[in-house]
């Protein structure tokens, strides 16, 4: 029994789960701010991809990882801003607009990657440093899981609390939710629906961009085409499963990340399934969970509908 536990390395598994859940949670938080204000953001995949690329490109040229993180967030807001103009002001179908942003992100990152990075021969900027929180990181089990991480993971943990507070404890959050549930009523009450939606969509770009920085600056210290590999879409699923709440989305992200981590370790545990089936695990889990295994989720009432000012 003890030997089995040692082989399973539960602490290592949980630590890996938390790290893998980082970009999912960040993108889910972004999607949540967006959707709570009434705008679907399927562009999160493209936002993360652009963030990952721009973050890397800036860190690469300035040799400063922190400027890279900042640039990733700015790049995310850029893509999100285009999505906002299209879907809020120009009344374009929000899913069409999001899809276009995803295609655009593949194009932009692909073209500039080929021109500026692929042919580069200098060494990359490395990855963000591991920070051990004094004292807390020494606690058994809890310490290695939560307090020996890199910046983006710490930021995620803080942002879960921040987004929860903003959405449910501030006037801005109340306005945001009003715009997502009944924009006409919100407008009547004197809320500028367009302004609220713009700010939330752009904020989601910053969160998604930070999630993108995870891939290039925290995880691999490089950029590869399509490095996000559909994580933006899984994040949307996490948001839905988490019922549009920060804590719920975090737990759902942990579930997906956990199935990922378990899948990649099953062979170490002596389970000999074909590698492709292990890879399917997070996607299958996503489908099963979105299909209502954890109860039905109800979206904000006005989400997805363009709002025309009267």
């Amino acid at each position: 029994m003890a030997e089995l536990l040692q082989r399973i390395d539960l602490v290592g598994l949980l630590a890996a789960t938390l790290v893998t859940a980082t970009p999912l949670t960040l993108a889910a938080l972004g999607g949540m701010m967006c959707e709570r204000s009434g705008v679907v953001n399927i562009a999160l995949e493209g936002i993360m991809l652009t963030g990952a690329f721009v973050g890397y490109a800036v860190a690469f040229t300035t040799h400063n990882l922190w400027l890279g993180v900042l640039a990733a967030m700015v790049a995310g807001t850029g893509i999100a801003a285009i999505h906002a103009v299209l879907s809020i002001s120009l009344l374009v179908d929000q899913i069409v607009s999001g899809t276009v942003m995803n295609i655009l992100a593949v194009g932009i990152t692909g073209v500039f990657y080929r021109n500026f990075i692929e042919q580069a021969t200098v060494a990359g900027p490395g990855t963000l440093p591991h920070w051990n929180v004094p004292l807390l990181s020494q606690i058994p089990v809890i310490g290695p899981i939560f307090f020996q991480n890199q910046f983006v993971t710490y930021a995620m943990l803080v942002l879960i609390v921040v987004v929860h507070f903003v959405l449910f404890r501030t006037r801005w959050g109340l306005r945001t939710r009003a715009c997502g549930e009944h924009p006409r009523a919100a407008e009547t009450a004197g809320i500028n629906v367009y302004f609220v939606r713009y700010v939330n969509v752009i904020a989601s770009g910053a969160l998604g961009g930070l999630g993108g920085a995870y891939f290039s600056l925290q995880q691999i210290g490089n950029f590869l085409p399509n490095v996000t590999g559909g994580r933006g879409f899984i994040a949307l699923a996490a948001m839905i499963v988490g019922k549009w709440t920060p804590l719920g989305a975090f737990l759902a992200s942990l579930l997906f990340a956990g199935s990922d981590a378990v899948g990649s370790r099953l062979q170490i545990y002596g389970v000999h399934l074909p590698i492709q089936f292990l890879g399917m695990l997070p996607y299958v889990v996503t489908i099963v969970v979105v299909a209502g295994a954890l109860g039905r989720a109800v979206a904000p009432a006005a989400v997805g509908r363009p709002y025309r000012k009267s």
């Binding site: 009344l91 276009v100 363009p306």
Partner: protein, 366 residues
């Protein structure tokens, strides 16, 4: 010219054409930013798409899957369903069809080809049908489920094609299925090129899908559900059944694209046979504004871009990913015609944006 015809001309011809031109201008801007010469790049793009040796035939070859896939995605749009899973349905259709095509021997081509095509369509129908059933019974959004099914299908294809005793051919250096039976191969139309009879199938598919949407009962139901779910339900249409059937038919067309590609071009299947066709199909359908006839020119444009892009990347420093920027810009202009109308100073006709996805979620009780 009457006002109505003028409006139709503007929304069906002028706006899409202007959007394509504007898309290329945005692309040129991106080329400039990377420090290359747009004229040089676009010349190479054009040569690679049309004027090089066999380029025109190759462009048609690439357009064939786009026609089927574009029709499939457009069909989904008409019911308000966003099928992002065409790529996966392409794989599953190709896998199912290729299995028949390489394991059945002794049948004449006139029997074996339709058999393989039908099995391919069934594969796509089944794979998309999963998303349809999930949407109809649990309300799970098809955008999420079809994307997840995409990843699963890639891994499934990789598993089947790489595993001995399943679809892996014996004694091959790179994993692939055995070659299809000679009787199952789609004939070549122009000797010396790769242009195959799939082109004729694509040309037939367009009027069939148009007829299905515009002139049949199921087509009426599809449009009714896409137009207004509540009204359709009140009129006694089974929304759930319509969703499942629409997703299935959409997937069947994607599966058809897959098996036609295998029987016409590759003659066997690898785990990378689709290479992004299904994702581009979303753009094809959007550019066509979900109209089956519009799919033809849109598919031709995308086939040309795809072929031209690889030659452009070879000849100049510009990445073939540039066409994604062009595609994205074109769709923006098509989806937000207000921009084009403003640019061209077209003042008549009310601003109409492209509304595709459903406004109302399906109630689990319907």
């Amino acid at each position: 010219m009457s006002r109505r015809w003028r409006q139709l001309l503007i929304s069906a011809v002028v706006v899409p054409l202007a959007s394509v031109v504007a898309g290329f201008l945005v692309g040129a801007l991106a080329i400039l930013v990377t420090g290359s010469d747009p004229i040089q790049a676009y010349s190479a793009l054009f040569a690679g798409a049309f004027t090089n040796h066999n380029a025109a035939a190759e462009t048609l070859v690439s357009s064939i899957p786009y026609v089927f896939l574009g029709l499939g995605v457009a069909l989904g749009f008409r019911a308000g369903l966003f099928n992002i899973g065409a790529e996966g349905q392409f794989y599953v259709g190709a896998l199912a069809g290729v299995f028949v095509a390489f394991s059945v021997h002794g049948l004449p081509g006139i029997v074996e080809v339709p058999l393989a095509l039908l099995v391919g369509m069934a594969g796509g129908f089944f794979w998309a049908g999963i998303a349809g059933v999930l949407k109809a019974t649990t309300g799970a959004h098809e955008v999420i489920t079809t994307i997840m099914l995409n990843y699963i299908s890639f891994l499934l294809a990789s598993f089947l094609v790489n595993t001995k005793g399943l679809l892996l051919a014996p004694n091959v250096s790179t994993p692939r299925t055995p070659d299809v039976d000679p009787a199952a191969v789609l004939v070549t139309l122009i000797p010396g090129s790769r242009l195959h009879a799939g082109l004729l199938l694509a040309l037939i598919a367009v009027p069939i899908v148009w007829f299905l949407i515009e002139r049949t009962t199921i087509g009426f139901r599809i449009r009714a559900v896409g137009f207004n779910i509540d009204a359709a339900r009140t009129a006694g249409i089974s929304v759930r059944r319509t969703i499942v059937i629409t997703m299935g038919l959409s997937g069947a067309l994607a599966g058809l694209a897959g098996i036609v590609q295998v029987l016409g071009v590759n003659k066997h299947m690898t785990d990378t046979v689709a290479a992004g066709y299904g994702f581009d199909a979303i753009a094809v359908a959007l550019l066509a504004r979900s109209n089956p006839w519009g799919v033809l020119p849109a598919a031709l444009l995308f086939g040309a871009l795809r072929n031209g892009a690889s030659f452009m990347q070879l000849e100049t420093q510009v990445s073939s990913d540039l066409i994604s920027i062009i595609q994205a810009s074109v769709i923006v202009f098509v989806a937000a015609p207000v921009i084009v109308r403003w640019l061209l100073r077209l003042r008549e006709a009310p601003v109409q944006t492209l509304q595709i996805t459903q406004r109302d979620e399906v109630e689990a009780t319907s």
